[in-house]
């Protein structure tokens, strides 16, 4: 089983799955907090248009989790 790391916690994934799909599969439903009301957000549109699922991958901020492929050992952080 391949894994990436979300804030220090290993998240398993199948090769070819997106980071968002792997997170949802692992029961993680939110990984971002909104600016104004500080509410949790995760995946909404699932196809790259809503920007709710933004996440930091290997130091690159604001990546769309629904489009970004999971990679072995990737260092992923909530934003």
């Amino acid at each position: 089983m391949t894994e990436f790391i979300l804030d220090g916690k290993p998240i398993p994934f199948l090769p070819g799955q997106t980071i968002g799909a792997a997170l949802m599969s692992a029961g993680v439903t939110s990984w971002r907090t909104t600016r104004v009301e500080e509410m949790p957000r995760g995946m909404f549109c699932g196809i790259g248009i809503c920007f709710d699922c933004l996440i930091t991958v290997n130091g690159v901020p604001d990546q769309r989790a629904c489009l970004t492929l999971a990679e072995e050992g990737a260092d992923v952080h909530r934003s």
Binding site: A21, M24, G46, C50, C66
Partner: protein, 496 residues
């Protein structure tokens, strides 16, 4: 013109979008020996309709590549043809790229500024492309209506739920409510059932008897009827519960969806008093038809009109020619009508491009396509009549309901916008109220805000256009904007 512009063959045609319409256009052009460039935001061709996993996941998940798909052989046939064309150099296929800005230069060339869909560190940015014939097939995304609780994790666009299943083989929930309106809710429920979800409820705000309003239109697309039969069988097997004239009027939960409130509706979408009840759910998949992706045609000043589903679409002739010479459009952006219709339109647009450049095109082939396209349009009209956005949907909102998810603008704030003559206009709600000014630039809330700001007698084309204009059509790092040496005026927000 910028100095780093990529020169492509002067006879090349650029196609944006590799869904059914774009693929059909590319197949038609390359079959005629015409070089083309196919730009697509996804890493694999197929668009939303034929979204599928890569070979690695097909093997790892022990599923078939075409699981849950219709008309798959049409796709694989085009795919292998285009693979050959790419090998021979006739097709320049650009997966994983988005057009973030578009304009015309003094010579009427279309200049397309490109960026990677997923940024990678250190990768060179793609050079802009100039071309004189452009076919846009940019597709559509789920149309959304806000409701109390829709910002909770676990509320998702129905198309996004489908995308997760199709490309990653992950069900977004195991106790889902699929809600909104239209036939597209059925494949989403069927896909979730196959993936192991239970107690599935499908809530359509309209009634299936809506088909009776135009039965003749409904039978124009017989394959749709067969798909319906297939879903009926799957729903029986998986005990999927279909509810007509029912909507999800609220989602509740602590940090994520745990329950939803359902309500029975009158014909105009008002809640029937005392009909509300709550059920547990871990997923709400919602969709109210589709919104065509009009960023690029609007940026080029293309003439538009409002379709029978209330969406803003490109006003094109039966061959896909738009009001801008050299610009053709095909698929959902000329009217949401599904994949089969998009295939026909993609082929027609390609033939028009060939014919406009002096190539001879078979008249009988065009005639056949035109008649197929008219049948498809009739079916789409019947579908739109049967599955309208309910007139009174906004009566489900409370003052606290967030309308614009990005900027967290509530219905209450929008209602308090100054009530002088122009203040309730959608454009005012966007500029002064900041609804539709966030990261998604109104893609998600744009339709809803246009309804909330609609005034009696207001021009719907203008109202929808004011929320559909996006000078920056896809997110780009600010450095890329700064480095683009062109006459482009960046006046909006949305860049990262």
């Amino acid at each position: 013109m910028s100095t780093d512009l990529e020169s492509i063959s002067s006879s090349s045609i650029v196609i944006v979008g590799a869904g059914p319409a774009g693929l059909a256009a590319a197949s038609t052009l390359t079959a005629a020996g015409r070089p083309c460039v196919l730009i697509d935001m996804s890493v694999r061709p197929g668009g939303q309709f034929w979204r599928h996993p890569g070979t690695d996941l097909v093997l790892a998940s022990k599923t078939k590549e075409n699981q849950g798909h219709h008309h798959w052989s049409a796709f694989t046939q085009m795919r292998s043809q285009l693979e050959d064309a790419a090998r021979s150099g006739l097709l320049d296929y650009r997966p994983g790229q988005q057009v973030w800005a578009i304009e015309q230069d003094a010579d009427k060339h279309f200049l397309l500024y490109l960026t990677e869909s997923v940024r990678s560190q250190g990768a060179p940015r793609p050079a802009p492309v100039a071309v004189s014939t452009l076919i846009l097939a940019t597709g559509a995304y789920d149309r959304q209506l806000p409701f109390p609780g829709w910002t909770l994790p676990g509320v998702m666009a129905a198309g996004g739920v489908q995308a997760l299943l199709k490309s990653s083989r992950v069900p977004a929930g195991l106790r889902p409510v699929v809600a909104g309106t239209g036939p597209f809710l059925m494949p989403v429920a069927a896909g979730l059932a196959r993936a192991g979800a239970e107690h599935i409820q499908v809530c359509d705000a309209n009634s299936l008897t809506g088909w009776a309003r135009d039965p003749w239109g409904a039978v124009q697309a017989p394959s749709k009827g067969l798909e319906g039969v297939e879903y009926a069988g799957s729903f029986l097997r998986h005990r999927v519960r279909m509810r007509m004239r029912t909507a999800v009027v609220a989602a509740m939960g602590d940090g994520r969806v745990e329950a939803v409130r359902l309500a029975r509706l009158t014909r105009d979408g008002s809640v029937i008093q005392g009909s509300e009840w709550e059920i547990p759910a871990d997923l709400v998949a919602t969709g109210w038809g589709f919104t065509p992706s009009l960023e690029l045609p609007l940026a080029l000043g293309t003439a538009t009109r409002v379709d029978t589903d209330g969406s803003l679409i490109v006003d094109a002739d039966p061959d896909g020619r738009t009001s801008v010479p050299g610009l053709l459009a095909a698929g959902e952006i000329v009217g949401v009508a599904g994949a089969v219709q998009a295939l026909t339109q993609g082929e027609l647009a390609a033939l028009a491009a060939l014919s406009d450049s002096g190539a001879s095109v078979s008249a009988s082939r065009r005639r056949k396509l035109h008649s197929r396209s008219r049948r498809g349009a009739r079916f789409a009209r019947a579908m739109n009549k049967a599955a309208p956005v309910p007139q009174n949907w906004s009566s489900w909102l409370t003052d606290e309901t967030i309308v614009c998810r990005c900027e967290e603008v509530t219905h209450g704030v929008l209602k308090q916008m100054p009530t002088d003559l122009d203040a309730q206009e959608p454009r005012t709600l966007r500029v002064a109220g900041r609804a539709g000014m966030g990261m998604c630039q109104g893609r998600v809330c744009g339709f809803a805000v246009s309804c909330l700001g609609h005034r009696e007698g207001g021009d719907r084309v203008a109202e929808l256009t004011s929320l559909g204009r996006r000078p920056v059509a896809a997110p780009v790092p600010l450095a890329e904007i700064a480095q683009t040496p062109s006459q482009l005026q960046i006046s909006g927000t949305g860049a990262q």
